[in-house]
């Protein structure tokens, strides 16, 4: 490796992070600093952060490409005289392909563009799922956008917009995908280009798609609209395969019976029996015995809404809105639901109010009424405990029955 710490190094503290076995982001940056003066200045600025223990970036809110309201995150140095190369160092969010698959050719195209028009540094990927080009100047934004679209790439979302949807690996390489997550993700990304590129919502809106309740993309924690695969009928059981596991020393009592959250499994030493009425589709037994147990055949997804981070009103997970929805192309039911949600949020949401906060403020019952969905016991853990109820229906004293 070419980056041994020199005694005359400009970045002695960061050089400490070249040590150790885990791949070093400092090495990644230093390798580009050799040919990119802007990266050298960003490194020197980062060294300064390590010395005085604080950030030296300022937020940029205006830069972008013509016509779009998202995809570029503006960033300026707070010490441009000291670090001229870092004076502007904006992020470009590029919409990733569904499932994060690439051909080497496509990835090399991206590398060539990023090296020509920017720092040559990336995040693979940002937390929302986009390909991140970490750093370019204001002047390069239009050229990089043209170069990207020329090769078939477009920008992802930012701001009060639909953020770039993302999904798990799904049917491409997972036997548990309950529907085609990649196709759904691709389809809605293309269907809602306007919502992604021209922010019109009260605040951001994230859609994440996981093929089963293992939720590999953390949809329930990170998305305003979480689509998580599930099934309605019975777990498919292959008793012979179960026996093979046992012959190899596995113990279904320990791996399934005792771990099933609803005690829905029996194992008598020969056969596994599942009380499907009581199974909550948690995936534990299936995860433990993938060759013997498979999800049922009547497949679809649960739709949950409202996850958000702690600022301002405290963090939320998504919660159930539609217990079961079949997901077949062209996904009309899902799109109709999305558009209804956006309408209600548009009309009632305040600036910076995530949809989960609106539901909380409005009350889930009232919210359901506005989007025209019937209340369902599966939407709550238990019925209400508090007796202060505001009833819609009552008689005025003058009314005669």
């Amino acid at each position: 490796m070419s980056n041994q710490a020199h005694s005359s190094s400009e970045t002695p503290l960061l050089d400490e992070l070249l040590k150790g076995r885990w791949p070093s982001f400092v090495k990644e940056m230093k390798e580009m600093a050799d040919t990119k003066p802007m990266v050298r200045d960003v490194l020197r600025q980062l060294e300064k952060s390590y010395v005085d223990k604080k950030t030296h970036w300022k937020h940029g809110g205006i830069v972008g490409v013509k016509g779009y309201g998202g995809g570029i995150i503006g960033r300026y140095s707070d010490s441009p005289d000291e670090f001229p190369g870092a004076a502007h160092f904006h992020t470009v969010r590029v919409n990733q392909p569904a499932g994060w698959f690439y051909s080497s050719q496509a990835l090399r195209d991206l590398c060539d563009i990023f090296e020509k028009y920017g720092s040559g540094l990336t995040n693979m990927h940002g937390s929302t799922g986009d390909i991140i080009l970490l750093g370019t100047t204001t002047d390069e934004l239009e050229p990089i956008f043209s170069a990207l679209t020329e090769k078939g790439w477009d920008l992802g979302g930012s701001g009060s917009a639909l953020r770039t949807p993302s999904c798990c690996v799904g049917p491409a390489r997972c036997e548990w995908a309950m529907f085609d997550c990649l196709d759904l993700c691709h389809d809605i990304t293309h269907h809602y280009q306007d919502e992604i590129h021209r922010p019109a919502f009260p605040y951001k809106f994230k859609i994440k798609v996981s093929g089963c309740p293992n939720d590999c993309v953390s949809a329930i924690a990170r998305a305003d609209f979480s689509v998580i695969g599930t099934w309605k009928d019975h777990i498919q059981v292959n008793q012979a395969a179960m026996q093979e596991y046992v012959a190899k020393g596995r113990n279904p009592i320990k791996d399934a019976v005792l771990l099933c959250p609803t005690k829905a499994i029996d194992w008598d030493g020969k056969e596994i029996k599942i009380d499907n009425e009581n199974c909550v589709r948690c995936m534990q037994c299936i995860n433990a015995y993938p060759k013997a147990l498979k999800p049922g055949k009547e497949r679809g997804a649960t739709i949950l809404i409202g996850a958000k981070a702690p600022i301002v009103q405290g963090a939320l997970f998504s919660s159930v809105l539609v217990p079961f929805m079949e997901l077949e192309k062209p996904y009309d039911d899902l799109k109709e639901l999305l558009e209804k949600l956006w309408d209600v949020w548009d009309d009632h949401g305040e600036n910076k109010e995530r949809i989960g906060e609106l539901v909380e403020r409005m009350g889930k019952g009232e919210f359901l009424e506005r989007i025209g969905i019937k209340p369902d016991i599966q939407m709550v853990i238990h019925p209400r405990e508090n007796p202060y109820v505001f009833y819609d229906e009552y008689y005025e004293e003058v009314d005669e029955k």
């Binding site: 490796m1 076995r21 885990w22 982001f25 990644e28 580009m32 960003v42 952060s49 390590y50 223990k53 950030t55 970036w57 300022k58 016509g67 960033r75 707070d78 992020t91 392909p97 569904a98 698959f101 051909s103 496509a106 990835l107 090399r108 060539d112 990023f114 040559g120 540094l121 990336t122 995040n123 693979m124 937390s127 970490l134 043209s146 078939g152 790439w153 690996v169 049917p171 491409a172 390489r173 036997e175 085609d180 990304t189 293309h190 293992n214 939720d215 953390s218 924690a221 998580i228 791996d255 099933c260 959250p261 589709r281 534990q284 995860n287 060759k291 981070a309 301002v312 009103q313 997970f317």
Partner: protein
């Protein structure tokens, strides 16, 4: 002249799927982890696909990406993918490719692992590398923690899955709140107003409107327009610094980290839940943050010693209780651990279920 293209969306993923995946799309039968970092997926057709998973620091330069494409060209029909935790996955139908491919990756220092009961790669955010509201550096912390957990990434050394995350401020750009172990950057003081020439840089009314708690008001200092922050109302969110470059929130002395455990996203066994605080504050100590590394190590060691097979950290703590978890880790329990926000009373123990 070229017509300017817009709204073309992401490219079609189908062109990026390896031939064996195209053939068996949606027809997978079962999978197994062969050894740390390597799985096999078998399709109903009987085809087998081998996947090698490699950990990355997420911040990657184009040279590293080009090296990955070389590996993909040599062993994987020219295709590769990334996971949501910044791992890189190389897929081949040829069993014999696995070991030479691993050798090629390891020769350049790339760790193979992150499957099943190993420590996951760390979801993290920008920090001092690229964010204006960061209270710490995410990349540096990840590097130090993973140097220490390296053998737990490359081996199945834990009772169950363990997902780690770092977010460099309360905005939490990376789903840290639902991880087994989360490191969260925190500010403890309001932004410091730089009154010099403030009105030239700052749209005062919009900055005042930016504060979610209404803590900011206009003021006059030496005849110049400036801003004043009501300290008791400020929750250190940094929103005003986003609006106005004259209100930096970063603070060398008072910024630092907190550590949270026991969150999860998966629905397996127990339902998803948020992390809970175990260490309220550790000062920033770059470049190696030894106190943070040690605290994470302590948690991992307790989990290794006391977790039962399949249990996530949250499941283990459900079983042994928080009191015993604090006893085992030796972390001090303070007033900061007791919630004082909305619905805080839901976390009070209204029972005589106690552990001694």
């Amino acid at each position: 002249m070229n017509v300017r293209k817009t709204d073309i969306g992401c490219p079609d993923y189908k062109q990026f799927l390896p031939p064996m995946i195209l053939k068996n799309y949606g027809q997978w039968d079962w999978h197994e982890v062969i050894k740390p970092g390597v799985f096999v997926h078998q399709a109903e057709s009987g085809d087998r696909l081998y996947t090698v998973r490699v950990g990355s620091p997420r911040l990657l330069n184009v040279k590293s990406l080009r090296f990955f494409t070389d590996v993909a060209d040599k062993y994987c029909d020219g295709f590769l993918r990334f996971t949501s935790r910044s791992n890189v996955e190389f897929m081949t139908p040829v069993f014999e490719n696995i070991d030479p491919m691993i050798a090629m990756l390891q020769s350049e220092g790339w760790p193979v692992g992150g499957t099943a009961n190993s420590a996951s790669n760390v979801i993290h955010t920008q920090g001092w590398v690229h964010c204006h509201t960061s209270a710490t550096d995410a990349s540096g912390l990840v590097k130090c923690v993973m140097d220490d957990l390296y053998d737990d990434f490359t081996n199945h050394s834990l009772p169950g899955r363990m997902k780690l995350a770092v977010a460099c401020c309360l905005n939490m750009c990376g789903a840290v709140h639902a991880s087994d172990i989360a490191i969260l950057g925190i500010h403890r003081r309001p932004p410091k107003v730089d009154p010099h020439n403030l009105a030239n840089y700052c749209e005062v009314p919009t900055t005042i409107a930016a504060c979610p708690t209404g803590a900011i008001r206009a003021d006059i200092l030496d005849g110049q327009k400036t801003l004043k922050i009501n300290e008791s109302q400020c929750m250190y969110c940094g929103a005003c610094y986003t609006a106005c470059p004259k209100l930096p929130i970063a603070d060398s002395v008072n910024d630092g980290l907190s550590i949270w455990v026991g969150g999860k996203c998966a629905n397996a066994r127990s339902t998803p839940r948020f992390t809970k605080m175990v260490v309220p504050f550790i000062p920033n100590n770059p470049p190696r943050w030894p106190e943070v590394v040690e605290a994470v190590r302590t948690i991992v060691d307790v989990y290794k010693a006391h977790g039962k097979p399949w249990e996530r950290l949250a499941d283990m703590i459900d079983r042994i209780g928080w009191a015993r978890f604090f006893k085992l880790t030796g972390f001090e329990f303070t007033k900061y651990h007791i919630d004082d926000y909305k619905l805080a009373t839901k976390s009070y123990n209204a029972s005589t279920h106690l552990r001694f």
